[in-house]
Structures are given as structure tokens and as C-alpha cells.
Amino acid sequence: MLGFVNILLGGIAYGFVLFLMAGGLSITLGLMGFANMAHAALAMVGGYTAALLIGKAGWPFLAAVVMAGLTAALTGAILERTLFRRLYQASELEQVLLTIGVVYAAIAAATYLVGPEQMAIAVPAWLDGNLRIGPVDLNRYRLFLIVTGLVLLVSLVGLIEHTTFGAKIRAAVFNRRMTASCGIDVDKLYALAFALGSALAGIGGALSVKLLGLDPNFPIKFLTELLIVVSVGGLGSLRGTFLAAMLFGIIDVVGKYLLPEIGAFIIYATALALLTVRPQGLVGRPR
């Protein structure tokens, strides 16, 4: 029984890792409606920034994670201004192919610049080891992920649903021309929202390196998982993304424990079944 609790906790922690990375995608793909396949590539930028700053330059962990977010935000903003902006009105397929082009270029660039080997990240002593609460052993790093994820969820939902910034974005997505007519600079708004999504990708990437590892194939390896989390949760709903991340995190870890021989099969089957029954996602409204 205790073993099962620990596995469940492992699943929840993995769910938070997924949420940390998918939260940004929920903004760019879900809210802004841009089929952004390059999200995991931005997470990789964050991951490498943090790992290199800690490993090579000796930065403290938290400062490196913040810097990872900033670097990814800057990269995302540059990509948005130079490339993505031109395809906001284009079809999903064109957006997909453009951003996949970015993914391929990013994989090649990472292999060239950093090398194809796995990158490890060192965490400070206060995040290492276990914390014992009663009979349960809790990994400190996983606890840290859970707390960070919860803070992120609350602040994102607050930002999108309770501030004028969030209201403006939702208005611009709903009716771009009408919003522009109200004197809102939609172009700038989209750039800001995209940078925010990219910053979250960078932070998520930096925090996930310890659990998921990091190599140049990261952008393809985790792209599909993130897409599934965001679309099963329901496009445009952060709560949905959170719910789906928890669901898949738990199913994945528990499934791999109970039925190790079928691996990730159970995840994809669940996703397919959920999308069949609710194409609009767990929380989404039918369009």
C-alpha cells in the first residue's frame, strides 16, 4: 500500500513536470490558436541554458532557472517577430510545417553547438535527497516541482482570467479586428503573449532536465506528449491542461509500474479514447 502511495506521488510529480512544460503551450496553441510545434524546442533552449550556466559558469540553481526562462522568452520573441507573426492568419497545416522547420533547425543547431550526448543538471543540496513525513518518503526535488507547478497554475489562471492583459488576449483571439478597433495594439499583445508562453517553456524545460534528461532530440521526443496534454485538456483552458497533465502523469507512471510490457501504449490509447468522446477536450466547450 505504501509502495503504491509512493508510485502515485511519482505520477503526480511527473504530471507537474508535464504541466510546467505544457502550460506555455496552453497559451500559444490553446489560447492564441497558433499551432506551435516549436514549443518543446524552446523548452530545450531553457534546459541547455540552465544546465550550461550551472555546470560551466557555476551559477546558483534558481538564478539559472530564471535565466533559462528569459533566454527562451527572448528566443521565442525573436522567432515570433521574424517568422511566426506572418502565419497567424494561415492554415494550421502551414503553421505546423513552419514550426516543424524551426524544430529541425533547432535539433541540428543543438547537435552542432552542444553535442549529441545526454546533458545532466546538478541541483543544490537543499533540493537533493528525501524528506520524511511520517511513513512516506518524499523526494525533495519532486516536492519542489509540485509547489512550483501549483504557484504557476494559480498565477496563470489569475493572469488570463482576472487581469486586463488576459481579457485583452481573449478579446483579440475572439475577434482580432474588433479588438484592434478598440485601440488595443493586437500585434504587441500577441508578441507579449508569445514571449510569456516561451518563458514558461524555458522554465519548464530547465526544471524537467533532472527527471527527463536532455539531448538534442528533446524537441521531437516531448512534442507529441505536450500536444496531447494540451489538446486532451481542451484548447484555451489552463485548468484543462492541468487536469490532463495530472491524468497522463499518473496513468503513465502507474501504468508503467503495473503493466511495464505495454509501455506508453496506454497513454496513447487513453488520449485517443478521450479525443473520440470529447473532441473539444476535457474542459473545452464545443466550437
Binding site: 510545417l97 513552419l98 541540428a108 552542432y112 521531437i220 501504449f265 496513447y268 485517443l272 473532441p279
Partner: protein, 332 residues
């Protein structure tokens, strides 16, 4: 309706189905490739098979507007079905291709009702999940599929009982050419039939087609099943001509590659898939000979450039050129 209107309509339908210069040129050039590049027959065969796969996606995406993000599921299933049949003692090629098509078509039919139900981004996600599901299933069943090492022991009988599959890939080339050409003719028939026109109608205006008394769900189900069948046959061809089936035939990367080939060649033209595949596979051959990492980098840059500038792909550009030349020759 007056006779004139009917005649006009008839002329339009006939004109629409007329062979274009590009189509004729491609099939002649492909046959000529056999004599011009006798050392590159394996590569040429790959181009034909890749083209057939891209064409199957074109039926769905270019004509029906249904984007598939996991079409390799059907390609790979066809490849494994034909490969397993041959590895277990039935090496007759033509029935193997039919078997591969049947297996993939069956799976396509099973999922087609889901595809007919969902729209927009959800279509991409459902097809993505189908692709991932099959890849995962194949990699978890090494006793059946050979897992990471691939399915081996495929032993092909002579084609029609006459032509042995030789080491240089001569038989394989003509075999792939014939099957691809026949399926191309069949696909042409399909898209110029009322069924195909209804499919185009769905692409152009999804909500208005039901007002004409045409069931969109049925049209989509038929298109998806046909497309899956052809993809499966292309996979079966690959399995038979290379005599190995790798997990890669089911991969996400292969699904994406088909989308890229199609966009490079030109959507909604049928021949665009073949031209795009030939370009893509040629470029991959040249660029990855330098360094596999370079190839990915260039592929990325080419995709970005393509999306920012050229819509309509190579066929679009070639059509503009041939139209221009035709006007030069017959000034009005």
C-alpha cells in the same frame, strides 16, 4: 436546365480530367530514370514508393482538407502485413501488396468514423494518436515485428512467376513503377468522379455540402479508407522491395516527411506528391551524404523558406511556367 448549360458542365468535367503536361512528363521522366541512372535504381524505387505514400495523403489533405499527422500508421501497417506474410511462407508479391492494402484499409475504416466526427485541430491530434499508438504497439511486440532490429527473413517469389527480384533492383523498380502508376490512375478516377467532387466540396465549404443532400461523414469515411489503403500498399511495396521492415516506417518522422513531400510538390494535384517525394528523397540523399545533421538543418531552413514564400509547391510553380509558355506560343 438548358442543353447549353449541360454541355458547358460536361466540357468542364472533361477538361478537369484531362492529363496535364506535368503529369505526362513525370511518368516519362520516371521511366527514363531507369536508363539514365542505372546505378541509382534503389533510390528511384524509393522515390516512387514515397510518392505513392504522399499521393495517398494528398487524397485526404489536398482534396478533402483532412490533415493527417499520423499517416505513417497505415504505411507501416501495410509494410508489416506484407512483410509478415512473406516471412511466413507466402512470398507472392501482388497478393502481398493487396494484403498490405487490405490490412491498412481495414484499420482506416475502423478509425474513419472518428475522423468523420471531429474537425479542426482535433483531426491532427486524433491522427497523431493513431500513429503513436501503432508505433508503440509495434515496438512492444518484438516477437512479431522484430522490434528495433526490424522484421527480417522476407523472401519474395518471382514477380508473376517470371521475374526474380535481382540484386540491382531492376525488377523492383519496374514493379514499383507499375503498381504506383496503376494506383495513380485509380486515384485520378476517384477524384474526378462525383465522389471526388463531393470531397472537394467538403474542403471548400464544409457546412454547405450537407445542404446539397451529400453526407459529409460518409464522403470522409470513404476518402479516409481509400487513402489508408493506398498508403498500406505503398508500405507493402517498400517491405517487398527492400526485404526488411523497420520500426521507422511507423514513425512520426515519416508522417511529417510525407506532409513535407506533399507541400514541396504541391497540394491537391496528385502528381505533386510524386514530384515532392522525388525532390525530397534526392535532397536527402545528397545532403545526408555530407552529414546527417546538416540534412536536418537544411530541411528545417527549406521548410521555413517554403512556408514564407512559395504556396502551391513545385507543381504550382511549374503550372505557372507551362501556362506562360502556352500563352507565348498562342498569343491571343
Amino acid at each position: 436546365m438548358s442543353d447549353i448549360t449541360l454541355d458547358l458542365a460536361r466540357i468542364m468535367v472533361v477538361n478537369r480530367a484531362r492529363w496535364t503536361t506535368i503529369e505526362v512528363a513525370f511518368w516519362i521522366a520516371a521511366a527514363a530514370g531507369y536508363f539514365l541512372f542505372p546505378a541509382k535504381l534503389v533510390l528511384l524505387t524509393q522515390m516512387l514508393i514515397g510518392g505513392l505514400f504522399a499521393m495517398s495523403l494528398d487524397l485526404l489533405l489536398g482534396y478533402g482538407g483532412i490533415a493527417s499527422f499520423g499517416h505513417a500508421a497505415f504505411f507501416g501497417l501495410g509494410a508489416y502485413a506484407a512483410g509478415l506474410l512473406a516471412a511466413h511462407g507466402w512470398g507472392e508479391p501482388l497478393s502481398g501488396v493487396l494484403f498490405g492494402g487490405l490490412a491498412a484499409g481495414g484499420l482506416g475504416l475502423a478509425f474513419s468514423s472518428v475522423i468523420a466526427k471531429v474537425r479542426g485541430a482535433a483531426v491532427l491530434m486524433v491522427t497523431l494518436c493513431i500513429g503513436l499508438l501503432l508505433f508503440e504497439a509495434a515496438s512492444r511486440m518484438p516477437w512479431l515485428t522484430g522490434g528495433d532490429t526490424g522484421l527480417q527473413g522476407i523472401d519474395m517469389w518471382p514477380l508473376l512467376g517470371l521475374f526474380e527480384f535481382d540484386l540491382f533492383g531492376r525488377t523492383a523498380f519496374w514493379y514499383a513503377y507499375a503498381v504506383a502508376f496503376l494506383l495513380y490512375l485509380a486515384a485520378r478516377r476517384y477524384i474526378h468522379s462525383p465522389e471526388g467532387l463531393a470531397l472537394k466540396g467538403i474542403r471548400e465549404n464544409h457546412d454547405r455540402v450537407p445542404m446539397l443532400g451529400v453526407s459529409t461523414a460518409r464522403r470522409k469515411m470513404i476518402a479516409f479508407t481509400i487513402s489508408a489503403t493506398i498508403a498500406g500498399m505503398a508500405g507493402a511495396l517498400l517491405a517487398q522491395t527492400t526485404q526488411i521492415v523497420a520500426l521507422e516506417t511507423l514513425s512520426f518522422e515519416r508522417s511529417v516527411a510525407a506532409l513535407i513531400m506533399l507541400t514541396v510538390g504541391g497540394l491537391g494535384t496528385l502528381i505533386g506528391g510524386f514530384i515532392g517525394a522525388a525532390t525530397f528523397i534526392w535532397a536527402r540523399d545528397v545532403l545526408s551524404a555530407l552529414n546527417p545533421v546538416y540534412w536536418m538543418f537544411w530541411l528545417g531552413l527549406i521548410l521555413i523558406a517554403l512556408m514564407l514564400t512559395a504556396r502551391g509547391g513545385l507543381v504550382g510553380a511549374l503550372t505557372l511556367l507551362t501556362n506562360y509558355l502556352a500563352r507565348e506560343r498562342h498569343p491571343r
